[in-house]
Every structure is written in C-alpha cells, then in structure tokens.
Amino acid sequence: MKFAIIAFIALLPTSLSFTSPSAFLNPSPSQIPLTSSALSAYELVLLRHGESTWNEENRFTGWADVPLSEKGIKEARAGGKLMKEEGMKFDVCYTSMLRRAIHTLWLSLEELDQMHVPINHTWRLNERHYGALQGLNKQETVDKHGKDQVLVWRRSYDIPPPELDETSVHWPGNDDKYLGVDRSDLPKTESLKLTESRFLVEWESTFAPAIKSGKKVLIAAHGNTLRALVKHLDGISEDEITGLNIPTGVPLVYTLDDDLKPVKHEDAIAPLSGRYLGNQEDIRNRIGAVAAQTK
C-alpha cells in the first residue's frame, strides 16, 4: 500500500504533463509503475504542417519548397496553442529543410513561448520526393496517365513515381540547400518505402538517442515522413500505412517506454498509440473524412 502511494506520488509530475486528467485521478494498474525504469517515460510530439500554396493549387509538391497558405499558417498557430494549453515544454526540435515545415515549427514555438529551444534541420525529414510528377497539377496528371496509375504512384507502398533527371530544377542536386548531402543520397524519386528507409537513418542516429537522453522532442514534418515514423513506432503494416492519414496541424503525442515502445493512450485512435491534442470528435471526423475520399 505504502509502495503504491509512493509510486503514485512519484508518477504525479509525469501524469500532470503527459497524460489526461482522468489518468491522474483514476490511475489504472498499468499506469502505476512497479519498477523505477517505468517511471522514466519519454515523450515525443509530432506535428504535420498545414496547407501549403500548392495544396491549394492541387499540385504534387514533394521536395518543392513552397510556403504555407494563410490557412496553413492558422493551422500551425492552432497547433501551437494546443501544445501550450497542455503545458508542454520542449528541449529540442527537429524539422525538415522545407519552409512549410520550418514555418509550422516557428509558429508553434512562438505560441508556446519557446522560441529559444534549439532547432535542427535534416533533409531526412523532408516530404517524400515526387520524382517527375513534382510541380504537375494532380488532375492533369490523372488526365494524362489515368486515375489508376496515379493512384498507384500516390498510394502504393513501394512503387515510386517516374524518376526525374539531373537537369530538372526539382533534382535536389541543383538546390544549394543540399550541398552538404552526398549526391548518391539525393533522390530522383521516392516511394513511401524509400522515404521510410532514409528517414529511419536519422531516427537511429539522432532522434532516438535524443529521446533516450531524456530530452522532450518536437518533430515538425510532413505526411509521409510522419507516416514512416508512426509505422516504425506502432508496427503498422505496409498495407495499412499507405491509407493512414495524419491530420495537419494537430499535435500527435507519444509516450514511450524505456525501449522506446509506445505506451498506448486511452484517447488513441487505432492503429496509433499516440493521442491527438484537441477536440477528439473533430479529429475523428477529419481522419474519417480523408479516408472516405476517393483519390
């Protein structure tokens, strides 16, 4: 009994910042730690950037460095506000080389009043590269190649769009941002599978060690790199991941154990263990609505 009280009190700081109020008031047996290692829960927050100007224009974006639209800016601020309301405090942030994700991060940090937190940029968090389709209008592409082919390129796990060549303005080798990157690492196209494997390099080398060192990490990135991340964390299948939609501008919070395995939150929406911040019904609607779209 005494041990349970001590453990409960020790869990208090964790429960106040990371879990829902109901967990604090009515801790279930799985949430009262029996060993000291279970007390060191890690937290990871993911944020997908909001609408970009090319989303508005319905163009394949990939590595094209387009800015957020006005709506995307609002989404980012809203995401920041949600994190602020949760009382979240970060030690380090990671984002991609693309301004729509960086701007999303900046706006969130501004809302959180944590602009002083270190930010690291990596191309490995970039959106999946769309090869020769980058810049093309989605509808025109469907008209040209047929709906089924385009669906394959967009939603297959391992079939990438056609490659672009090195004269293309969309080849990363022609962009100064990537001067420090090995030429052989720069994609001419990517599938979700390829995106995942180049993302995981950074997970292993940088993100996981940061989390394990006790730092509170915020990752602001893109639809496909966050898919890669949650697929890895939650062991989601190849089939299921291509259909999974992570709503934009909604912070997704993971609590991880010592082995960086997710601790399933009671508000989690399958197949994820993490929980979204904000109005749960709205979020469920958004996820459902996107799944129902025939694309």
């Binding site: 960086i102 701007h103 602009m115 002083h116 940029h121």
Partner: protein, 276 residues
Amino acid sequence: MFAARRSLTPFNRLLSTNLYRNKHTLVLVRHGESTWNLENKFTGWVDVPLSPKGHEEVIQAGQLIKAEGIVPNIAFTSKLKRAIRTLWHVLEQTDLMWIPQTQAWELNERHYGGLQGLDKQETVDKYGKDQVLVWRRSYDVPPPTVDRGSEHHPSNESKYDDITVADDFTESLSTTLDRVLPFYESSIVPQLKSGKTVLVAAHGNSLRALVKHLDGISEDSIAELNIPTGTPLVYELDEDLKPIVQEGAITPLKGRYLGDQDAIRERIEGVKNQTK
C-alpha cells in the same frame, strides 16, 4: 545574373552562389523596436517581443541583405525572442529558413540588474539623471544587482538552466563583453575561417561588444556608439579575421550598413544627441 541561385551547371552555381565567395563575411543585425522600447522601460534579459514597427524594420533588413546578394550559411542569435524573431524574419526574406541556427545566451542583451522592468523616466526621477547615465553609458559600472529571489535572476528562468550565474547578478558593458567574446572566438570564428558567411541577429550591447573587438574601439567610445536597429551591418574580414575597411563605412566602424546611407547617418547622429 550573379544573384541567381538555381542555375543548373556546377560552374554556374560556383559563380552564382555568393558575391562574397572566398571572403569572410559577417553580417550583424540589431533587433528591431520592442514593445518595451515603446514603453520606455529598461529591458535587459526580459523577454519582450518586437513591436509592429520592429517587425517591419527587420523584414526590411532581410530584404536589404537579399538585394545585396549576401547569402548567409549559418546564423547565431540570443535566447531572447526579439532577436530570434529578427533572425527568423531575415531568414524568411532571404529564403534561408533551413540554415543551421544557434540561440546562445552569450549573445543576449546586457542584463540590467535591478533596473530591469523599471520605467526609464521614473528611474531618473528616483536616482537622478547622472546616476542613471552612469549605469547606462559607463563601460564598467553595472546597475544594482538582483538576487535569487528576484524574477529577473536568470536562475528563475528555465531557459537558463544550463548556466550558472552569481547569486547577485547584473552586467556592465564590460562584463557583457567578457561573455560575448569567448563565444565569438569558440563558435563564430571557426565558421568564418571555414569560409562560411555568418549572420548574427542580436542586441545593442552584445553587438557593441563584437564591434569593439573587431574595430579596436576604445572603452570610452564604445559606450556612446549606437548601432541602428534593423540595419544590416556587413563586415568583410581578411585571412586573420581583421576587418577590411568597407566603402561607405562610418567611423569608428570598418563595416558598412546596408540601406539608405543618409537616413542611417541621421539615425546614428540623432541618437547621439538625445539626452538620456
């Protein structure tokens, strides 16, 4: 043509990357007007935001840097949002939001000790104009200290958890220099030496510390030197990182300001003539 950044062949890229290639270029930007500048309060380490005018000033600063064809490769700023926001505006305008950025407390504004948060006029009324002038413009006489019980003591802010400061804390320009220069040497110099163009977005006194060192300005002159807000100050340094006198440089600086030179001179003179 030389400012184009998306040319296709390696040779064209070499030419186009930077007008200042193979030089050591350091760009300094003092943050724009803050809300407490408007309210005429001693700020120091208090983390106030830019005023609307301040935002505009530094957006312009970014546009000036872009128009000049200067392409920073790495950026440094302080832990205070008015400088960080200044940096972000510049990076947005120059399309360089992705370059490595470091927020360092060593680039913070001078801490104003027990005067932080006080209205400047009220402080003059309380302590007398001369005393306040000494605290503001002397090289090495600091304002009164704050202790650990004060909200202004850095130990009470989690952003400074990594540093240890004295129980009774305050700063003069001299002690500010004592923490700016080692940071310059250890973190900025290696970048310059490796050929990177460095952008520093910081504060009046942390930039005074830097230019005092770069331009060999005396202790007497530095306290009077005013670096206009939101006005990029460009240094080109030789192999030994000594500044090369720029055309249009305004004594005692060897660097040159970007922008309307007449307006800039007026601003520098104007502030000097203010009785404060």
